[in-house]
């Protein structure tokens, strides 16, 4: 309906520059397309989707030890403890079990890609945001087992569905030979060559290839380069953008690279450049830095998106 469309575009507009913590869970559910805009249908849809997810668990989760799926499960099982190892929340057994279920169910329902390392990271922002609805302050140290079981289950199901929606938009990042990533890294190179010739030529001179550092930027959507709180802020905008996780992300990566211009151009060899590029000092970053990054990405998109040789969607 017209009203819904209007509501949606307004919601996107207001979300672009950051969503307040209190309304972030519901806004993310809406923006991802998981929750319908129509108020009357919301409760019904939520209940149906949550039941559907737990139906999957009942139907498939026991098969994790079967010959067909045991490798997938084993990979997920050894990756979970290595997901955000420094945040106590993710070391809780109850949380690790949630992640195992979400990733296993997603993997066997998407055999074209299956589980690829990096996808494990993509659950965490959803989980933290949906959990934050029930936590007053510090989510990263909260004991999830203290919540009622129903609440835990709802957080799990919602995280699963929102992650699924996200991955639907970037599936070719994870299919055989990862063509989506290869294309995006090439597009990044082409974009940087037009935006900042100095950096581009500097990389050439020292034989730095974009794939050597930007593969991870695409595979993990910059999550490994930024603190989790920054990723959450970034995703407010990604979800407010059309094709945020696929298309706009490219401009964010370009802006992110240019951000370190001075540091890059002060390096004197290949080794220095690579060490810098895979350990960029963002540990102190917060909303302000991400806000500036997004503004610059928006500017780049506006300036360069329609230029010749533009990266084709």
């Amino acid at each position: 309906c017209m009203l819904c469309l209007y509501f949606c575009s307004e919601l996107r507009k207001h979300s672009w520059s950051g969503i307040p913590r209190e309304v972030r869970p519901i806004t993310w559910r809406l923006l991802s397309g998981y929750l319908p805009v129509n108020m009357e249908r919301r409760d019904l849809v939520l209940k149906r989707k949550r039941d559907e997810y737990f139906g999957f668990i009942e139907q498939y989760y026991h098969s994790r030890t079967d010959e067909t799926y045991k490798d997938t499960y084993r990979q997920i099982h050894i990756d979970i403890p290595r997901t955000n190892p420094l945040i106590p929340l993710f070391q809780q057994p109850a949380v690790q079990e949630v992640f195992e279920r979400i990733l296993f169910i997603w993997a066997i329902r998407h055999p074209a890609s299956g589980y690829v390392q990096g996808i494990n990271d993509l659950v965490t922002p959803f989980f933290v945001v949906f959990l934050s609805e029930f936590v007053e302050e510090d989510v990263e140290n909260f004991d999830v087992a203290s919540l009622p079981l129903d609440t835990q289950r709802n957080i799990e199901a919602d995280s699963f569905w929102c992650m699924t929606k996200l991955l639907d938009g970037i599936q070719d990042n994870y299919t055989f030979a990862q063509p989506g990533i290869q294309n995006k890294v090439k597009a990044l190179e082409e974009l940087v060559s037009r935006i900042d010739e100095d950096i581009h030529n500097y990389f050439k001179r020292y034989e730095v290839e974009y794939l050597q550092f930007a593969f991870r930027w695409m595979n993990n959507l910059l999550m490994r380069e930024l603190p989790l709180r920054c990723t959450i802020r970034l995703w407010d905008t990604y979800q407010a953008e059309q094709e945020g996780f696929s298309h706009f992300h490219l401009y964010v990566c370009a802006a992110f690279l240019i951000e370190w211009r001075k540091e890059i151009l002060s390096m004197v060899d290949f080794q220095g450049l690579l060490m810098l590029l895979q350990n960029l000092p963002t540990i102190h970053w917060g909303n302000e830095e991400v806000g500036l990054l997004l503004a610059e990405a928006y500017r780049l998109k506006y300036m360069f998106a329609d230029a010749p040789n533009h990266y084709k969607r």
């Binding site: 390392q117 030979a177 794939l211 050597q212 593969f215 991870r216 993990n220």
Partner: protein, 212 residues
């Protein structure tokens, strides 16, 4: 920092065998019990001394998951040395060695030195692969072999350095064409000026921050 040679390495092997931990122990002399997943490839470097010469090691640490194989394969070419790692507490990681070896041989230059490493030797009580089995596999396939522990640092230095020694010997024997960079070897600026610049240049040991 000046160096006589630069050798490029690649670290390969199944997921979770400790490839990144070996690299971290070698470059930073520390152990991280829960290490982040390696996505695609990651880079590390350190300076070592062999036969009185400074040698710079540039090391590509690869992701073990099958999905990344198309990315990691491109790093074989241009490597002078490979560390092929398995976990002595997980039999399946040993069973997959043949596949890894075929892959490595097919995509690398024929002179690449391969060091077979049985990692996690500190976990003796959980051992599933006997040391003799590792030795036998190495002998059969013409590899060098060591058991290491990235946790206690046992044999980690030796593994990286012995690989370099083997490459160095091959250079002395004229096996490697050192003018072809595709072999993963580069002659440093220091090489032409003999040994006079060597003294006092031991500081490259704690790379990590990209000091050398």
């Amino acid at each position: 920092m000046a160096y006589a040679y630069l050798f490029k390495y690649i670290i390969i092997g199944d997921t979770g065998v400790g490839k990144s931990c070996l690299l971290l122990q070698f470059t930073d002399k520390r152990f991280q019990p829960v290490h982040d997943l390696t996505i695609g490839v990651e880079f590390g470097a350190r300076m070592i001394t062999i036969d009185g010469k400074q040698i710079k090691l540039q090391i590509w640490d690869t992701a073990g998951q099958e999905s990344f194989r198309s990315i990691t394969r491109s790093y074989y070419r241009g490597a002078a040395g490979a560390l092929l790692v398995y976990d002595i507490t997980r039999r399946d990681t040993f069973n997959h060695l043949t596949t890894w070896l075929e892959d490595a041989r097919q995509h690398s230059n024929s002179n690449m030195v391969i060091m077979l490493i049985g990692n996690k030797s500190d976990l003796e009580s959980r051992r599933e692969v006997k040391k003799e089995e590792g030795e036998a596999f190495a002998r059969e396939h013409g590899l060098i072999f060591m058991e290491t522990s990235a946790k206690t640092a046992s044999n980690v230095e030796e593994a990286f350095i012995n690989t370099a020694k083997e490459i160095y010997e091959k250079i002395q024997e004229g096996v490697f064409d050192i003018n072809n960079e595709a072999n993963g070897i580069k002659i440093g600026p220091q090489h032409a000026t003999t040994n006079s610049t060597l003294s006092g240049s031991q500081g490259g040991q704690q790379a990590g921050g990209g000091c050398c």
